[in-house]
């Protein structure tokens, strides 16, 4: 497998984990999620120890999971407490339990061994904070997660793939500044555009009629969390000297980039905004528009994955200036994979 292990990954949105059993393969590991009567999210290996039948195909008995094949029954801590036709429970009858933490409306799961330190989970507080409204969805991707990372680290593609939504000519034309914090393991790519065209995505949601100053500040915390701090303001409107920027419009674009298998990915996408909070039409517009944009990426990346499958090993790609951040992200991911 080619995934960084010993890492936290976004497994689901909080509301996806409930009474029903949710099966999701993450980093090649089949996992079943559910919520106990006390409200705690649980993640167990989705394989019965007996004949490997997926536990997600079974049913619940209170907080317990009952295998749908022969009735092996498991507690939320993975202990088997019942097997068919005998009272003795084999000592090895236990399924692995995955550490789970709910934070910022997301269900995070720890893939790996060692210390699953909740403090290491990156934050996206806008997703669950006063003064912000969030739209979101999840699109399964038939492509390796590295392609989604590449895609999101280079927003020049907005001009071409997402024209009419978020792309304008200036995005591809504006130079970028890239930085890597080696100790924190964070890549930042910043593109600040002054007096530029306002794309429909923001014109229709903010109500701005004229040209804008547009900031795109990417903050990628590999392997899983990608943040795009987007600032939109009428051209010339600067933040105040004390840093107050409340006259501008802010959108926090968040992605949970979760590898499922070597060539499939869970693409969790979210848009949090600090404007038009009480306007359901804006909410609907942003939800539909952003899903359209995400699906444009999905179609392109699925196509890329098919291309990769047909090409000989060792194909040499060409990298240019716009790929500076993407190359930095690849290096950190490779380092994480090598260390795990």
């Amino acid at each position: 497998m080619v995934f960084p292990r010993n890492q936290w990954y976004v497994a689901a949105y909080g509301e996806e984990v409930g009474e029903e059993l949710l099966a999701r393969t993450i980093c090649g590991e089949p996992i079943v999620f559910y919520r106990t009567g006390a409200g705690d999210a649980v993640a167990l290996a989705d394989r019965c120890v007996h004949r490997r039948f997926p536990l997600s195909e079974g049913h619940r008995d209170g907080d317990r999971l009952v295998c749908g094949y022969h009735g092996f029954t498991y507690e939320p801590d993975g202990r088997c407490v019942a097997v068919p036709a005998q009272t003795r429970i084999p000592r090895t009858a236990r399924v692995p339990v995955y550490p789970v933490v709910e934070q910022d409306s997301l269900v995070w799961v720890w893939i790996g061994d060692g210390d699953a330190d909740p403090a290491a989970i990156p934050r996206a507080p806008w997703l669950d904070a006063e003064g912000w409204v969030v739209v979101r969805g999840m699109e399964p991707l038939e492509a390796r997660y590295e392609l989604l990372v590449d895609n999101l680290m280079d927003l020049s593609h907005e001009t071409y793939l997402h024209g009419g939504y978020i792309g304008t000519p200036e995005v591809a034309e504006t130079p970028i500044t890239t930085s890597v914090d080696e100790e924190a393991g964070v890549v930042r790519v910043s593109r600040r555009m002054k007096d530029v065209e306002c794309p429909p995505f923001y014109a229709n949601s903010t109500g701005i009629k004229g040209r804008i100053d547009r900031w795109q500040d990417i903050e990628y915390q590999p392997p899983c969390l990608y943040l795009l701090h987007s600032r939109i303001a009428p051209a010339g409107l600067e933040p105040a000297p004390d840093g107050d920027d409340s006259a501008a419009f802010h959108a926090e674009i968040v992605y949970g980039i979760t590898p499922s298998t070597e060539t499939t990915t869970f693409d969790f996408w979210m848009v949090a905004r600090d404007f038009a909070l009480d306007d359901p039409e804006v909410t609907t517009y942003l939800a539909e528009s952003n899903r359209t944009v995400v699906m444009q990426d999905v179609v392109a990346l699925n196509l890329l994955e098919k291309v990769i499958a047909t090409e000989p090993e060792g194909y040499q790609e060409l990298s240019i200036n716009i790929d500076t951040g993407g190359l930095a992200a690849r290096r950190l991911l490779q380092r994480m994979t090598d260390e795990s």
């Binding site: 130079p175 914090d181 990298s319 240019i320 500076t324 930095a328």
Partner: protein, 54 residues
Amino acid sequence: MTSALLQVVWSPGSDHLTGVCHCGAEYRADGPVEVWQWLLAHPDHEASIEAGID
């Protein structure tokens, strides 16, 4: 304590990238592969500070 920040700035009006190492050394390069190779060579890139393209 030295910062571990590596920075690459796209020089305005040009196709050049300027790499700035956490040690303060700078290098101008034609592309991202070259600039990352130089940055990651720290501390062995010191002699290359002036070797970048003009």
